[in-house]
Each structure stands twice: as structure tokens, then as C-alpha cells.
């Protein structure tokens, strides 16, 4: 194999090329399998090229937040397991895992993709908690977009267990999770003065900045985050948003 280096990534990009032969605005091949975890109420394995992310959904009885007595609750957690990348350390979630979890949380929550009003068992007392656990298996870059695809796919795959006599009956279901949108996160990475989509992990190393934009089916923007220590020119912003909206349709069609 040809040794890959940051220099090489930059050199190729100057010629508008990428190391894996993609065009600047191409995603890698996306594979989505759902229902892959027997014990989970919903699950999805997403492959973005060689990036592999597993998302499992557990439904648990929970107490609603006092200021939201008539809504179910959503908890998103990300584990950057050390199997995924030689630089990940075992231990509690670091900055990257925390940011990923919070961005996926905002994408799901702010897009209102789950109708949480239908998750109430007893108002103010007992609701369904939707636990979205993102488990990174292999990090070849762009974990955020892959995690978002996985979370949405897994939520669409989720069934609500039967609940009888104050007991959750695992393996028997009362129906599907009430979902209504397919929000998509699009990450654009800035390398030099060029933007590319779906950066692999070497491209991420070289990128000064990333802009991640979450888009709902109706083109509404529901989450934005500038990531990394570079800047984005104000004049570039509108074009980037347009690009994210356009690309989100393509990704959504796979969900």
C-alpha cells in the first residue's frame, strides 16, 4: 500500500483529488443494517466506508422531568470504545464523545423526530425513556454523520415493549416508536481553502475546521456546530448551508 501522509492528502487536494478516489463532495459508500442487536429494542449498524458505528436503543421506564410532565425522555450517550482507534483510551467519555452525543441529541430533539408526547404512561409519574447508545466500532473518520445516521435508523427500527402490571415485558411489543422525521447531519471539512464532505480520518487530521449542519426532511435547519480550531469566512456560510441541505436529501433517501 502507498504510505498515506498529511502531505499527501494536501497535495492531492490541490489537484481536487482525494486519496480514495472520491470527488470533493462525495460520501463514501453507506451501508445500513437494522435490527442487529437481539436484546435492543432497536438497533442499526452503519458503515461509512470503513467507519463502523453501532447504535442500540433501549426503552426503559423513567420519571419525566418536572417541567415536562407529559413527555417521554431522550438520553443520548456515545462510547468511543478503544477498539475503534488506537488513540482512544478506555475510561469515561472524553470531549469528542461528549460533543458527538450532544450533537446527535440536539439533532433528534430539536428536529422533533420523536413524538415524545406519545411516550407517557402516567402523566408526571411514569414515561418511556428512549436511551440511544452510540458505540463506535471502527473510526475511519466522520463519526458524527455516521452516528447520526445510525441513531435515526435505529429509532426507526425501535419497538416499544409491552408494559403490564408495572412490568416491562421484554421481547413482546406494543407498537413502534412514534417517529416522524429523518433528520440528517452533514459535516463539511475545511482543508486549506477547500471544503470536502465526509472526511476520512486522515483528512480530519489535516482539516482546520469542520461545519456540521443538521437538516430535517422539510429543509429546516435544526442543529449547527462549527468544530475545530480554524475559522469559517462569513462569506462562505450561505454556500455551505446550501450544500448541506442539498446533500441531506441524498443521505435521507438511504434511510
Amino acid at each position: 500500500m502507498i504510505p498515506m501522509s498529511e502531505e499527501y492528502v494536501l497535495k492531492l487536494l490541490r489537484q481536487n483529488k482525494r486519496m480514495d478516489g472520491r470527488n470533493l463532495l462525495d460520501y463514501r459508500e453507506i451501508k445500513i443494517e437494522t435490527g442487529v442487536i437481539p436484546k435492543a429494542e432497536g438497533s442499526a449498524l452503519v458503515q461509512l466506508g470503513n467507519t463502523k458505528v453501532l447504535v442500540g436503543i433501549k426503552m426503559e421506564i423513567a420519571t419525566p422531568f418536572p417541567d415536562m410532565p407529559d413527555e417521554g425522555i431522550l438520553i443520548v450517550n456515545a462510547e468511543f470504545a478503544p477498539i475503534a482507534n488506537p488513540e482512544f483510551e478506555p475510561g469515561p467519555p472524553g470531549e469528542e464523545a461528549t460533543e458527538t452525543a450532544r450533537l446527535v441529541d440536539r439533532l433528534i430533539r430539536e428536529s422533533k423526530m420523536i413524538d415524545t408526547s406519545k411516550l407517557v404512561i402516567q402523566e408526571g409519574e411514569k414515561v418511556w425513556g428512549v436511551f440511544v447508545d452510540i458505540h463506535i466500532l471502527n473510526d475511519e473518520g466522520n463519526l458524527l454523520d455516521a452516528s447520526a445516521i445510525g441513531a435515526v435508523a435505529a429509532l426507526y427500527n425501535t419497538k416499544i415493549p409491552k408494559y403490564e402490571n408495572d412490568e416491562v415485558i421484554r421481547g413482546e411489543y406494543a407498537g413502534n416508536l412514534p417517529v416522524r422525521y429523518k433528520p440528517v447531519m452533514i459535516t463539511m471539512a475545511k482543508i486549506g481553502d477547500k471544503y470536502i464532505l465526509d472526511p476520512n480520518y486522515l483528512e480530519e487530521e489535516v482539516a482546520s475546521t469542520k461545519l456540521s449542519v443538521g437538516i430535517r426532511d422539510d429543509d429546516v435547519i435544526c442543529a449547527v456546530q462549527k468544530r475545530g480550531s480554524g475559522t469559517i469566512k462569513f462569506s462562505e456560510l450561505e454556500g455551505l448551508i446550501d450544500l448541506a441541505i442539498q446533500k441531506s436529501k441524498e443521505i435521507r433517501s438511504l434511510l
Partner: protein, 245 residues
């Protein structure tokens, strides 16, 4: 958080709950040099939101294996005092403060000439002592002033404000209630003379048109915030100069 029924964030005349117009910020107060132990310090208030920032460094970083050979590293901490919120906030970091500390660090990294201090660290600590919305932007404005006071070379001052959509209208500098009950909120910071964005976070629901319109208003406001920062620094040095004479 769910908006109580019938509660209005904007009245028929376009006035907000604290009497402001949609494009108005709350009263902004800036003070610098208030902490004697820090290399630079500042206190910034946007209405009832108050942040204090202190800068230590550039200083040597230990243990050595944390050092970067070619540039200095930035460490940040964004922290809310337990008494800054409606209900007491338990002390300690949570996922929110971890994320905010990270995006604020990136904003500062995008601004400071890091390569001038290889192997060093610059530590920027931001404490929210009173919280009524827009805390991270208030903190970043304070950090910008504190960095300037510490003599850290920067590409420009960082100017920051929030914006959002409340009762269907675009508005600048959200207070706590507007943040909780509004339809969208954006945290934004830029280097005004460069027109480069160093912080951008958004939550909620906005069309592209709304988003761009709002961002343009916020960029304008950041220009004014930068003017205030410059004025604050100048007055400080004038006063200090006067005292030294």
C-alpha cells in the same frame, strides 16, 4: 422547556419581555483588570448574565509530554457557579460544560498566534457568576478582553453574541426565558475586522433564509461589541497610565 400557555415573548408592538426591541441587546457592561493574580482579567455583563474571565500565561506546561513542539496549547474552563442559576447547580463539570469548554477553546485557538509560544500553555478560565441566557457568548467576550489585557497576540478581538427566533420573530441576545421558550437559538462569535467565524452553534428550527438573516444581524452586532471592547481597553490603559504617573 415547554412555554406556559398564553405566555408571550414578544408583544403586539414587537417589544420583548424586558422591554427591548428585537435587534437590541440588553445593557452591556465591560470591566477589565479586576483580578490581581491573573495575567489578564475581565468581567462582562449582558443584562443579568455576568461572566468573569482570567488568563494565565503564556506559561511553561508540565508534564512535558503535554507540550506541543511548534505551538502553545490553549486550555479553557467554562464553569457555572452554583448560585448563578434558578435552582442551585451542583458544582463540577457536566456534559454541557465539557462541550462548551471545547467550542470556546476552539474559538480562542482560531484567534491567538499559537506559534509564537511553542511548548507553552495559555489557560483561559471563565466563570459564570450570574446566568440569564447567552452565558457562553458573554464568557467569550470576557475571555477576549482578558487575553488582550494579558498581552496575548491575537488576529483580532473576539466579539460574540447570541440570536434566535422567539414567537416567530428573529431577535438578538436572548435572555434565559427567550432561550428556554424560543423556537431557535444561535451562539456566534467572530473576528470582526476579518469577518471570520470562530464560534457557531445552533439549536432549534430555522429555514435557511431565517438563519442567514439572523446571522447577518448578529455579525453587525458583533462589530459594535468589538467597538465597546476597544473602548474598554483604551480607558483602562488611560486610567492605569494616569495612576502610574
Amino acid at each position: 422547556m415547554k412555554k406556559p400557555e398564553g405566555f408571550k415573548l414578544v408583544d403586539g408592538k414587537g417589544k420583548r419581555i424586558d422591554g427591548r426591541g428585537l435587534d437590541e441587546t440588553r445593557p452591556i457592561r465591560m470591566e477589565v483588570g479586576l483580578l490581581s493574580r491573573a495575567d489578564g482579567s475581565a468581567k462582562v455583563g449582558f443584562g443579568n448574565t455576568v461572566a468573569v474571565a482570567a488568563v494565565f500565561g503564556p506559561r511553561a506546561l508540565f508534564p512535558r509530554h503535554l507540550q506541543e513542539v511548534e505551538e502553545c496549547i490553549i486550555r479553557t474552563r467554562y464553569n457555572m457557579a452554583p448560585f448563578s442559576t434558578e435552582s442551585r447547580k451542583s458544582p463540577g463539570t457536566d456534559r454541557r460544560s465539557i462541550e462548551i469548554s471545547k467550542v470556546l477553546r476552539h474559538a480562542i485557538e482560531a484567534t491567538v498566534f499559537l506559534e509564537e509560544f511553542p511548548r507553552a500553555t495559555i489557560d483561559v478560565y471563565m466563570e459564570i457568576i450570574s446566568s440569564d441566557g447567552s452565558t457562553r457568548c458573554t464568557a467569550l467576550n470576557a475571555a477576549s478582553l482578558a487575553l488582550a489585557l494579558a498581552g496575548v497576540p491575537m488576529r483580532d478581538l473576539i466579539a460574540s453574541c447570541t440570536g434566535g427566533k422567539i414567537d416567530g420573530k428573529l431577535a438578538i441576545d436572548l435572555n434565559g426565558k427567550e432561550d428556554n421558550y424560543g423556537e431557535a437559538d444561535v451562539a456566534f462569535a467572530m473576528l470582526p475586522t476579518k469577518r471570520e467565524i470562530v464560534l457557531l452553534q445552533m439549536d432549534g428550527e430555522l429555514t435557511k433564509e431565517e438563519f442567514m438573516t439572523l446571522l447577518t444581524k448578529m455579525a453587525d452586532k458583533c462589530n459594535k461589541i468589538r467597538d465597546m471592547q476597544v473602548k474598554t481597553i483604551k480607558e483602562y490603559y488611560k486610567k492605569i497610565g494616569g495612576e502610574l504617573e
